[in-house]
Amino acid sequence: MADITPAVTAAPAPRRGRQLRRLSRRLPLTAKIGAAILLFWILTVLTVQFWPLADPLAMVGRRLQPPSAAHWLGTDALGRDVFSRTLHGSIWSIPIAIVVVACAVSIGSFLGAISGFFGGWWDTIIMRLVDVTVAFPPILLAMAVAAMLGPGLANASIAMVIVWWPIYARLMRAQVLEVKEREHVEAAVAGGAGGLRVLRVHVLPLCWTPTLINATMDFGQVVLLAASLSFIGLGATPPSPEWGSMISEGATRFYDWWIAFGPGMAILSVVLATSFLGDGLRDLFDRRSA
């Protein structure tokens, strides 16, 4: 645990650069591949509208053409280019996964930290809430919430945050419970520091490692669940080229396999990349739980 402290506390800029370089040298090859794939998708999200691709929403060729030189992944039932739609699909999936993971981490960690640090009634209420939330099978809870709120990506994202926050609440609580017993915390309390200040300055900075590793791993799972909800018809709505809804279009046109091929590979690449990267990071920083 000691070796992560410098990465978390603010270090002078040059030292941080050197640490990043050392870190990247120690990462295994698979983790680097994972990081590269994620970087590729993030770059795609940022720049895809400038790429020389067919309009993802316009009819650009004959309907249901198999892959060819003109349309690398063929065309769908409305004559749209599947390759272009797959790349454009990242604009939906990646930012949504980032937002969902960020919200789940913030809400979960906040409640988990309060629960672990203050204990008592806070702990009881928050942890019972966690127990009830995790008593639902994740996809059913997400489906129920998304259906109640109505279809749409925003509502699907809310549903996913509701499914995911308890994981982070439990992680953070366990971490805070452990760190708050340490001597430097005791010293801070003895020195007269107030509760919130002790939590913020002396406890929280030492608690983030498992959360960040888990968040990396979960990123792919969120992409997967978001696509699943869209596949069921609770997420993105046509004609947006979201990966899950593209696969559901492919499922209705069974013999034209190429409609679903691209988006499926895209999801697979993101999920594999995050588990590669997450595994690598965990081996580096958190050997005990590996």
Binding site: F136, L140, M148, L224, F231, A260, V271
Partner: protein, 337 residues
């Protein structure tokens, strides 16, 4: 041990109450008219029926009373009436549950068998090419969107190669075996109809494999790491020193070491299996509660979704409880808090 099991048992009703309360709150948040979900449309004009349903569900009452009515109905097994099928949700679910259970159990068997085999062999030949291939196979299984892998495998194996039959539980126009367990494979055997059994089994094979593959990754990983650990322990060295062949050390000495963690992970994989079953059923037109839930979600059939959610949660809680009990029983060293 007994105290622990008792404490877990006591917590179950509270968790169920929580689950029911959340489901109730969700159903209250819908923008639609709750009455529309309870009364068939053509009976809406009949004030008598509308009044009866209103009274039954207490729709004319304030929120706390409605909540109590809801819980009362739940306790009696009344999950409401499906918007789409116009039948009690509980009846719909009961009818479709065996199909889901058959799929999930078959997937669990396939996943555990593949996971154990791959884990065992990769631990035995760790560092070899087999180890890497097994790891990649397992990793891909847990990373694939199941609704996509099912689709692609169905296309390749059924449409292209015609190795497996298409979707559904039986070929079209084939009558299911007489109902005993609701599992077509078992019922066909009970009826003594071997060709029907083969047909049911071949229809089950691909969806069960797709679903089982999804949990193979977790199991392989766990079995491999606990066997690798077991092989390095003193008792394995002793067995080798006494001249036991590596195969015996592996199966008799290291494998049991992996079985206890396997017990705990099975409860955990159940969550994956439920998620996977929902999507697998949608792809393979499998008439279970998963495809029922998907259809309900698409049609915004709130009582049906709520019903499936509650039934799924009960199954989930029971699976976790059984896992915990099995774990505590298998390994008395664990201090349960």
């Amino acid at each position: 041990m007994l105290a622990y099991v008792l404490r877990r048992l006591i917590s179950i009703p509270f968790l169920l109450l929580g689950v029911a309360s959340v489901s109730f709150l969700l159903s209250q948040m819908t923008k639609g008219d709750p009455l529309a979900a309870l009364v068939p449309e053509r009976m809406m004009s009949n004030p008598e029926i509308v009044e009866t349903v209103k009274a039954q569900w207490g729709l004319d009452q304030p929120l706390p009373i409605r909540y109590l009515r809801y819980l009362g109905n739940l306790v009696q097994g009344d999950l409401g009436t499906s918007f789409a099928t116009r039948r009690p949700v509980a009846t719909d679910i009961a009818e479709r549950l065996p199909a889901t259970l058959e799929l999930v159990i078959a997937a669990m068997i396939i996943g555990t068998a593949m996971g154990l085999t791959l884990g065992l062999l990769s631990a035995r030949f760790r560092g070899s090419a087999f180890d890497s291939i097994a790891r990649i196979f397992a990793l891909i299984g847990s990373s694939l969107p199941i609704f996509w892998s099912g689709l692609i495998l169905l296309y390749v194996l059924s449409v292209r190669l015609a190795i497996v039959p298409g979707t559904g539980r039986l070929p079209p126009r084939i009558a299911p075996p007489p109902h005993h367990t609701g599992f077509y494979t078992v019922d066909a055997l009970i009826a003594g109809d071997l060709s029907l059994f083969v047909q049911a089994l071949t229809h089950l094979a691909l969806p069960a494999f797709v679903l089982g593959w999804a949990v193979t990754g977790i199991i392989t990983r766990l079995v491999r790491s606990s066997i690798v650990e077991g092989l390095s322990l003193d008792y394995a060295r002793t067995a080798r020193a006494k001249g036991a062949p590596e195969r015996v050390v592996l199966v008799r000495h290291a494998l049991p070491n992996a079985l206890i963690p396997l017990l705990t992970i099975l409860g955990f994989t159940f969550a994956y299996l439920i998620t996977g079953a929902v999507l697998t059923e949608a792809i393979f037109s499998w008439p279970g509660i998963g495809s029922y839930a998907v259809r309900a979600a698409g049609a915004l059939d709130y009582p049906a979704i709520g019903g499936v959610t509650i039934v799924g949660s009960v199954a989930f809680l029971l699976a976790n409880l059984l896992t915990d009990i099995a774990y505590a029983w298998a390994n008395p060293r664990i201090k349960v808090h």
